[in-house]
Amino acid sequence: MRKSPFNLDERERDVYKNLIVILYFITLIALIVLQLYRQFVLRQSSEQWDDIALLITFNVLLLIGGGLFLSGHVNLKRIKILYLVIGYAAFVLVGYLFTIFKYKVLLGQAITLQHFRSYLFIILPITAILVLGWGLMAYLGHQRMENKLK
C-alpha cells in the first residue's frame, strides 16, 4: 500500500521526469531568446542581462559535464588524440565565428586585425578550459563506472 500520494511509483516518476526534461529545455531556450532579445534588440547594457547569461552558461556547462560524469560512457583512452584536436579546433572556430557575427552583424562594429587577435586570445583559453573540464568529467565518470563494475 502506498503510504502517501507523494510516494510516487515508477510510472508516475517517469511521467514527472519526462515533463521536467521538456520544461527544462523550454525554460533554457526561453532564457536564451530573452538574453539575445535584451542584448541585440533592446540593446541593453551587459549589467542588465549578464545574470541571465551566467545562468544559461552554468546550466549548459553543468548539463554536459554532469552527463559526462554520471553516465560514464566516454572512454577518453579510446578516442584518438587527432579527434580531440579536431574537436577543440572546431569549438574554437564556432566560438570565433559567433564572436565575429555578434560584433560585426548584430552590433554593427567594424572589426580590425587587432580585434581578431584579441578575440583569439580570449576564445582559445576559454575553449581549452571547457574542453579540459569536460574531458576531466568524462575521465572521472568513466573511472567511477569502471570501479562500480569491478
Binding site: M1, R2, D9, E10, R11, E12
Partner: protein, 68 residues
Amino acid sequence: MDKQGNMKLRLARIEKNLNQQELADLVEVTRQTIGLIEKGNYNPTLNLCIKIAKALDRTLDELFWEEE
C-alpha cells in the same frame, strides 16, 4: 506488446482472485499502473516485473514473455 495487452498477466491476476487495486497494493504501485501494464500501454521495469511475478507466484516468462 500487442493490441490485446498483457492477457497473461490479467489471467494470472484473476486466477489469484486479486483485483487490480489489490495487486497494485501488493507491489506498491497505483491501480492505474497495473491497468496500463495489462493494456500494454506501459513497459514496467525489471524490478516491478519481478515484484508482480512474485506476488502472483509465477515466473517472469509466464507473465511477460511474448510468443510468436
